[in-house]
Homo-oligomer: 336 residues x 3
Amino acid sequence: MTNTSWTRQHVLSLADFTVAEYDTVLQTAASFKEVLSRRTKKVPTLQGQVVTNLFFEPSTRTRSSFEIAAKRLSADTLNFTASSSSLTKGETILDTAKTYLALGTDLMVIRHREAGVPQAIATEMDRLGVKVGVLNAGDGQHEHPSQALLDLFTICTLLDRDRPRLELLSGKKIAIVGDILHSRVARSNIWSLTASGAEVHLAASPTLLPHLFADYIKNEIHKNPILNRQLFLHWQIEPALEKADFVMTLRLQKERMTQHLLPSLREYHQLFGIKRDRLQLCQPHVKILHPGPVNRGVEISSDLMDDPNFSLIQEQVTSGVAVRMALLYLMGSGKA
Amino acid sequence: MTNTSWTRQHVLSLADFTVAEYDTVLQTAASFKEVLSRRTKKVPTLQGQVVTNLFFEPSTRTRSSFEIAAKRLSADTLNFTASSSSLTKGETILDTAKTYLALGTDLMVIRHREAGVPQAIATEMDRLGVKVGVLNAGDGQHEHPSQALLDLFTICTLLDRDRPRLELLSGKKIAIVGDILHSRVARSNIWSLTASGAEVHLAASPTLLPHLFADYIKNEIHKNPILNRQLFLHWQIEPALEKADFVMTLRLQKERMTQHLLPSLREYHQLFGIKRDRLQLCQPHVKILHPGPVNRGVEISSDLMDDPNFSLIQEQVTSGVAVRMALLYLMGSGKA
Amino acid sequence: MTNTSWTRQHVLSLADFTVAEYDTVLQTAASFKEVLSRRTKKVPTLQGQVVTNLFFEPSTRTRSSFEIAAKRLSADTLNFTASSSSLTKGETILDTAKTYLALGTDLMVIRHREAGVPQAIATEMDRLGVKVGVLNAGDGQHEHPSQALLDLFTICTLLDRDRPRLELLSGKKIAIVGDILHSRVARSNIWSLTASGAEVHLAASPTLLPHLFADYIKNEIHKNPILNRQLFLHWQIEPALEKADFVMTLRLQKERMTQHLLPSLREYHQLFGIKRDRLQLCQPHVKILHPGPVNRGVEISSDLMDDPNFSLIQEQVTSGVAVRMALLYLMGSGKA
């Protein structure tokens, strides 16, 4: 397992990830996926190191994924969750992070409902001159890089099991459907997928993909020289699905209804749900991804979700452990 | 440690347990009890495997017992509890279980307030063709097999420390007293104890052991050819206690009062509580069991609970770790 | 690492700690601090033993500190927190502790909002004749010995990195400022610091350091022949700070305002907050301690808290892990 090309101390956003970095993550994750297929699924890589999950916003699924990834690397884990927190005692977020630093944390995995919190903590760690790595596990509506990397790994592994790499996506058509406006998962995926040379098609109702936001996204992409300009936006699902190789559907928060951003779950499913008849538009080999947890019958019909010919949803969860092992390994092994 | 006779992938109910299976659990638990008496109480048996506690209904005591059993076997553990769950996010129970499967779970320990949930999850795992073992840690008013097996182990170990086995109970009289109607502990114990050849006497008020329910239980027992027919039902405590070798008293849920199933805790203690003067009816060597946590002065008088001449309550907790190690070992080591 | 002088099974209070015991803790913590500076920060000392955190009052910070200390010693850990507890099920505290004993706990770390609970549990363990060690992690307004020991270690290590020992404090002036009346941290520190031969100056408003309480404290100190009589009480901060070598400021509970014990946080900061201009009164090398979590701008000004020339607050957290490793090691290794 080589990581000579890795110099990044924190993983906060995919906006400035290089092709070499994507490929290092994909290759390292592939090695760990092999480890996970053995009977004894552990390696001693991070023995004696401490991975702390600082989850200011609760998430059983993502926390469990990081926790098991850390344990597979033989790290010790600490879990901080907001409900049991000293935040109610008036401590600032930076002070909480510094307390966990002083307790001996080597790697911090951070989730917060506000965008920018992981970046702020990483900046503070750098200012203090400490070698702690900070990993963004979802910050507000900003980014969720490990989710996009596991989506990427899931797709690339399907295309070449032994040597998953970014260039495999070149020329593929990928649709991202749903609540683009509020989705940190979409935000991170836009960076990785446009970097790969794929054609990326976003589809949502105008309330969930407003003109102003569309202009902003396009502008961001166009500013960035390493990014491909093949980003397309649609206010209907059909043009996005047409001849798509992969469809990513996003989780819908039910509170979007009370915010008058959509009329009903049923209408949402009618307009933007992934259903078997709609798949006729896609490539015959099309595969569907969803970051979970799924509202069955809303973002995707229940039967499609369970159909292994189309759904990669379970595979994504398993990929998540390998990708998070790779990230913790790459960020942690530079310490010594 | 031999487990040649073990082929069961899931432990969901004791209704169809064979004598050979009971004896395998008892013998394996006896070996682990010896491990627990050493200074270093760990064995490497499940190194690299993941035991996930999926507790949709909270229970510190039972979860801690399974967690320490898994750690003694060198497994990694994940804890899912309903309060921190994505259930509030609209995910189905089967989807939650499949997520933990995809995260790399080898053994699932499941508690849920609805009867049948562990069975449903096990059925789904079988349908998927995966080698995950599912263990029922209490489902509604249905069963709690590991509790009944630890009760059995506690009693059999008392009768023969080195070679606990089912036949030791043949001819013994065992009373089960309390809220039979709502008790999954009673349900599981009825299977194991009637299978052993003991005389089993249930005692409760008619509200907690109604005629219809009594008929149902008798019918179930009579249908089953491997089960002994020595099950007796009483609406007073005295005939159940008379010459009893063991008395199992059940936890009383305080909400039974507001449901008008009993008048008051005081009256309950008066009518069905285990008190020193009542023990005169039993064998001189009688021992008392309770699955915990105990309402002191309700199910049992406080002084009796603390009297090591009568109470096996602490011993049951310790037996629980050995029995759960045995179950996880038997279910997990067949995987390879 | 020698611990020939250690015979104490429980650590409940510092009131009767001997100089030899303080020095054993300080020396052992110094050895563990060296371990924590290595890449692999673990020792196999408590392999196979179980450390249970019984936190009837929630505290992420202190629980995490004990948890990581236990893991560094290779112990397995169990966490019990009140919210997830069977206390709501009517079980007594002693029964909960006995359940964790029966599950195989070797060392119990106990926090409770009522003074005396750890002592009551320790007494019960002794009555049962079991070799479990009980460590008070904060009981009501009584004591918090591991916090005072980490404060002591932080100070002594600053004075002699290689050989921290109690006598280093002889003749030093130490101010303890803030809510003395309600502080278990202050209570434990008064014992250790007066035992060291330091001059200890308490400063608070009369509402937080009433005459009656002051008399009581003085009386306690005077009764104890091993304690130094150099304890001074002030109702203003200035005489306490004058030429102080160390200033300990205590956490202020915001509910003290609604209890009419102080007018406002702003006035509190004005009267008893540690601010840069006030430090002119102290020795030029003065250092500030705070048990955390800090209300920035209340007990201490925000800029001072972050100034490494004055603040030992981060250092205290790191010392906490080394000191708790020392305590668990000393209490646990006598078992065999």
